[in-house]
């Protein structure tokens, strides 16, 4: 499938974007995007896990039998998630407090597993690592975008609390776009997650169409 790292990067970030094109990893996409900061944090944590587990699966793929492959992949993802969880708790505690709840849920995010099945189990270590990184970054991009839109429309801010996630140096990112009283609450409530994601997929399509590409109709599972 992929030839060269440029292709992998393009696929992960845009063409085959996990959220906007493949419609995978929907749960954190909806649940963790009440603000741009949350989306960014969740995305980055997922990217780390995806890269590590992609590399590991590619390394061990010779030993994994068909019958037990899913449990093994999951075991690997779960182990990576736990390692990230423990490490962050111990050494990046402020960040952990923001993301803490979300991290265990990376385990059951479909995206890492889908990539392990379709990429890392067939490709060598380095491309698998790259695929993990770029798919993860693409995921981050999408989540941040969704979070940004929801946050702006819903609360009137952008990147609120970014300094908690990224450190005080990043407090310049925290912007108030409009007064809170104009916030459309629905956008940060559950319906907003679906609506904004839907519109962002349309946005991606418009860009693709402007770029002369055909509209992508299905998600990862459309046969």
């Amino acid at each position: 499938m992929a030839t060269g790292y440029g292709r992998i990067a393009r696929d992960g970030l845009w063409d085959n974007n996990g959220v906007l094109a493949m419609l995978l990893g929907m749960c954190p996409t909806m649940a963790m995007t009440t603000s741009a900061t949350n989306g960014l944090g969740m995305g980055l944590a997922t990217a780390v896990v995806m890269a590590a587990s992609g590399g590991l699966v590619a390394t061990f793929r010779g030993y994994i039998t068909q019958e037990v492959r899913i449990p093994v992949y999951i075991l690997i993802v779960a182990a990576m998630v736990t390692v990230v969880d423990l490490t962050m708790n111990a050494y990046m505690h402020d960040l952990y407090k923001v993301l803490g709840l979300f991290i265990p849920l990376i385990v059951s995010n479909c995206l890492p597993l889908a990539r392990l099945e379709s990429f890392a189990s067939k490709e060598p270590v380095l491309p698998s690592l790259a695929d993990g990184v770029f798919m993860g970054l693409g995921f981050t991009l999408a989540l941040t975008a969704i979070g940004a839109v929801r946050e702006i429309l819903g609360a009137g801010t952008l990147f609120a609390d970014a300094s908690l996630l990224l450190g005080p140096a990043f407090s310049f990112m925290e912007v108030r776009v409009m007064p809170e009283s104009m916030g459309t609450l629905m956008m940060i409530l559950p319906p907003g997650g679906f609506l904004v994601t839907g519109f962002l997929v349309v946005g991606k399509r418009m860009i693709d169409v402007a770029g002369g590409k055909a509209i992508q109709m299905g998600g990862a599972h459309a046969v």
Binding site: G183, L185, M186, M187
Partner: protein
């Protein structure tokens, strides 16, 4: 002589029915209640009504332009105006102008045109807008006023009204709670239903509309009249309204009998909130309700029951809008299971056993 050939098959005669006529009839049925209520709530209500209806028509036109369709047959069918009209009738009459505009965006763009326009939408556009506004702006959407009829003393004049609708400030001293809101707040403060209901206008006044509420909420009797007109005109049938109001009444009565201090009675329930408007004008929306009569009975039953449940147990004071949307979501499934029995077949689709000789 050549005559247009083989483009459309028979029949070559048609009933006089048209979409435009249907929508116009519904609007006509709403006129008395609307006029009376606009009088009751004065200029701010008039402004908001105009803004909402105008914005809905404008959004419809905008969507048609964007999608490159012709404006006329579609814009002229009256469905967008009707949506706007119904939406305006469920807003707090003195709500600021932007609720009408944003409501039009929710109703026409999000609720209708994204799905492909008239007939394609899954959810009732007016109720989508109403609920989206309620969820998004709980403050603005729950600020009610008592009736202040036009030209009475104490009623805001034209200029004051401009300030209310376009300045967004309801002056102190006007606000009042709706009947349902009062009971709900009462309950959450530990008052019993009878204590709260004691503070309410009596049922007669509720029927006439002399109380706080939206345009479509207050004068239940005029709404009823409009509804009966629609039934008479065969625009709607009795199934949805009867099933909905009946279920709501029965559920409320049973609850009231079981625990009068916790649940209001049946008459109160069907006369308050948007029950009548919902039963005759909203739950009956063709597009989003089942097509068969059995389906409509089930639909009405569902709306009635959910309305009572949401009003009695859930956080929001208003149940009809949510109940309608919830049942809208079940409509395709209801449709699938309530198809009529085909001629010569059993309900399950097998051919009938021959009867007759022997």
């Amino acid at each position: 002589m050549m005559i247009e050939t083989a483009t459309t098959s028979a029949p070559y005669t048609h009933s006089a029915a048209s979409v435009q006529k249907t929508m116009t009839t519904v609007i006509l049925a709403l006129v008395p209640a609307t006029a009376f209520n606009l009088y009751l709530f004065g200029w701010p209500a008039v402004f908001l009504f105009a803004v909402t209806v105008g914005a809905c028509a404008a959004m419809e036109g905008l969507a048609l332009l964007i999608s490159g369709r012709r404006l006329m047959p579609t814009l002229g069918d009256g469905s967008a105006v009707l949506t706007g009209w119904l939406l305006a009738m469920t807003l707090p009459p003195w709500a600021p102008w932007w609720t009408g505009v944003l409501g039009a965006v929710f109703a026409i763009l999000l609720g209708k045109q994204i799905f492909g326009g008239l007939g394609q939408n899954l959810f009732n556009p007016a109720m989508v807008a109403r609920v989206a506004l309620l969820v998004s702006f709980p403050v603005a959407m729950t600020s009610w006023v008592a009736p202040h009829p036009l030209f009475w003393t104490g009623t805001p004049g034209f200029l004051d009204a401009l300030a209310i609708t376009f300045g967004g400030q309801i002056p102190d001293g006007y606000s009042a709670a709706t009947a349902l809101g009062l009971v709900k707040t009462g309950l959450s403060m530990g008052q019993t239903v009878s204590q709260s209901v004691g503070q309410l206008p009596d049922l007669m006044d509720m029927g006439l509309g002399l109380r706080a509420g939206s345009l479509g909420e207050t004068s239940a009797l005029l709404i009823l009249g409009g509804g009966l007109f629609l039934i008479w005109k065969k625009v709607i049938t009795w199934h949805v309204p009867a099933a909905m109001l009946g279920t709501l009444f029965v559920a409320a009565t049973l609850g009231h009998l079981a625990n009068p201090e916790r649940f209001t009675d049946g008459a109160f329930q069907i006369l308050s909130g948007a029950a009548f408007l919902g039963a005759f004008f909203i739950a009956t929306d063709y597009v989003t309700s089942p097509v068969s009569k059995t389906g409509q009975l089930i639909f009405g039953f569902g709306v009635g029951l959910l309305t009572w449940i949401i009003r009695s147990f859930a956080g929001y004071p208003e149940g009809v809008a949510f109940a309608v949307l919830l049942m809208n979501s079940l409509t395709p499934i209801i449709d699938q299971y309530t198809r009529p029995r085909r001629f010569g077949r059993t309900r399950r689709g097998e051919p009938l056993a021959p009867q007759g000789d022997k």
